[in-house]
């Protein structure tokens, strides 16, 4: 009796929160309702005895994917007007996709039948007596190992693609090179001068800033502008000096 009650509680909350995801106005609230939906779906998995899948659903979808979503949603100032701009333009496409999906669901619902072979396989197999995690592992790494590897490769390609798309090197960006910092000796960055009284360090031909980071003396492996390299900053600097 209790599982049935729990099932309906989880299912109702799941459906309600799924509806709320697409109907609330605030995008952060929408993301939160999606997380609620995931947690309830995990509850349903738990009721079905698939505890491994349930925990994975919470850990990966609710715990990792949605966090990144929330990051974007929170930092983005999404205006409702902006969101509603394209509605009329995209409506026909959306309707077509929705229509195709509904037809497919109906087709599946009509022809749904569980393969009797599989039922026999499961009722006789030793998988029945071992835990969820082990059963999944046994199937995943034996029967479907090739598909599993292909999935991994696709994810790897997607990851590399995302990194390539977002990575752009800014030559003016000064980044820390820790190995270089450790290699640095005092005489590379320090000059000791005896400054006579009533003189400044400039008068005797020294400069105060460290040698290496002094403008135009940057070493080749650093990210700063190279000697003789006319980047934006050098031009601006020259302009400023001319004005002076």
């Amino acid at each position: 009796m209790t599982p049935i009650i729990l099932f309906y509680i989880f299912a109702i909350i799941l459906l309600l929160s799924a509806i709320m995801v697409v109907s609330v106005r605030n995008s952060v609230h929408a993301a939160l309702f999606l997380i609620l939906a995931f947690c309830n779906a995990a509850g349903l998995f738990m009721l079905a005895g698939a505890e491994f899948l349930a925990v994975l659903l919470v850990a990966i979808y609710a715990g990792a994917v949605m966090v990144l979503f929330m990051f974007i949603v929170m930092t983005m100032q999404t205006e409702l007007v902006q969101l509603k701009e394209g509605v009329q333009r995209y409506m026909p496409v959306g309707c077509v996709i929705a229509f195709i999906l509904i037809i497919e669901f109906i087709l599946i619902a009509i022809h749904w039948k569980v393969d009797p072979k599989i039922i026999n396989q499961f009722s006789n197999s030793p998988l029945q007596h071992i835990s969820n995690t082990k059963a999944l592992g046994n199937i995943l790494y034996t029967h479907y190992v090739l598909l599993f590897q292909i999935c991994g490769l696709i994810l790897l390609v997607a990851m590399i693609g995302a990194i390539v798309l977002t990575l752009h090197k800014n030559p003016n960006n000064r980044r820390q090179n820790i190995a270089k910092q450790h290699r640095r000796e005092p005489n590379q960055s320090l000059e000791v001068h005896d400054v006579p009284l009533n003189k400044s360090i400039k008068d005797i031909g020294g400069f105060i800033r460290p040698k290496e980071t002094y403008y135009g003396v940057t070493q080749e492996d650093s990210f700063g502008p190279k000697p003789g390299d006319k980047s934006d900053i050098t031009e601006k600097r020259q302009q400023r000096e001319q004005i002076k």
Partner: protein, 341 residues
């Protein structure tokens, strides 16, 4: 009586509530006294006396603090999102407590002896990010939002290496049940064969709980108090309690994964006189002392250094360690049938 507890629905619910109370009341008292312990240890390191006015040795200080906290006024920022503003601290505190459900304090003594206990812990700790994120966003303040972003980025980066370290332990044990993990350490505690992972896990736990030297979320000099800067009264108190609760939880996880949980160091007479749960408590206290010790001994990291440490050093290192562990177990055939210990 036995029939009521084990064979009726109401009885089983009462039993679960009793079990939960038996675990959570000591945890809550522990949280209260951890604040006292931290102040005492910090004071001792800095050659001060620490709290010594309220009660003998300042032992009533946590309760004085609690009373003060409760009687303060709750201030809600004018443009805050009220619902989320209140949900966030509750969420953080609840999540720090429900993870205790799977922690075994003796052989088989856990509120829920889950087969996937360690995965449950991972899932709960990955949900903990939301409290931080929501608190920062709902207070509608720049400092809060920046603090929340930092804290969240930090927590999800270090979760990755924590997950990989847990994988290498699972390889050794062959089970995700925390009880089995402790029993597998009967011959040797895992911190010896897995020493580098033990250190990385400890550092990752520091980062995961936003403790110094990784306390960027609360970097006082830059962000005032990070994501909970707008919180006052008991709402602030809940964040505070959650932080200390997470510290105790992480110490318990370290003790279970690496320090042999409730097992005595040697299975001989003087050690076996002390009851098993006390060994777990002693190990938790040792880890907590290290947490506090690190706080007073090291200056705060810089944020980009933290990210570099997490992604470029810990992640590859723990990944290689997983491969090495798996290779070692396959070549020697130790762990294939479950249990290397």
């Amino acid at each position: 009586m036995e029939h009521f507890f084990f064979h009726t629905l109401a009885g089983s619910i009462v039993l679960i509530v009793l079990k939960t109370l038996a675990l959570l009341v000591p945890v809550l008292v522990g949280i209260a006294y951890l604040t006292w312990l931290e102040r005492k240890v910090l004071a001792a390191i800095m050659l001060r006396k620490g709290p010594n006015v309220v009660g003998p040795f300042g032992l009533m200080q946590p309760f004085a603090d609690a009373v003060k906290m409760i009687f303060k006024e709750t201030v809600i920022p004018a443009k805050a999102n009220r619902v989320l503003f209140f949900i966030a601290p509750i969420l953080v505190f609840t999540l720090s407590l429900i993870a205790w459900a799977v922690i075994p304090v003796n052989n088989g003594w856990a509120v829920a002896n889950l087969n996937i206990g360690i995965l449950y812990l991972l899932a709960i700790s990955s949900l903990g990010v939301y409290g931080t994120l929501l608190a920062g966003w709902a207070s509608n303040s720049k400092y809060s939002l920046l603090g929340a972003m930092r804290a969240t980025a930090q927590m999800i980066s270090y979760e990755v290496s924590i997950g990989l370290i847990i994988v290498s332990i699972l390889l050794l044990v062959g089970s995700a049940n925390l009880n089995d993990i402790v029993l597998a350490q009967r011959r040797i505690w895992f911190f010896l064969p897995m020493f580098p992972m033990f250190i990385i896990f400890f550092i990752s736990c520091l980062a995961e709980t936003n403790r110094p030297p990784f306390d960027f979320a609360v970097g006082e000099s830059e962000l005032v108090a990070g994501f909970f800067v707008e919180y006052s009264s008991m709402a602030f108190g809940l964040f505070f309690l959650a932080e200390y609760g997470n510290m105790i939880l992480m110490s318990a996880i370290i003790s279970i994964l690496f320090l042999g949980g409730w097992l005595p160091p040697l299975d001989y007479v003087p050690f076996t006189w002390i009851p098993a749960p006390f060994w777990l408590i002693i190990k938790i206290l040792f880890c907590l002392f290290c947490f506090i010790w690190v706080r007073s001994a090291f200056p705060r990291y810089r944020y980009d250094q933290l990210m570099r440490l997490g992604w470029k050093i810990f992640l590859p290192f723990s990944l290689i360690w997983v491969v090495l562990t798996a290779g070692f177990l396959m070549s020697t055939g130790i762990g294939i049938y479950g249990g290397a210990g």
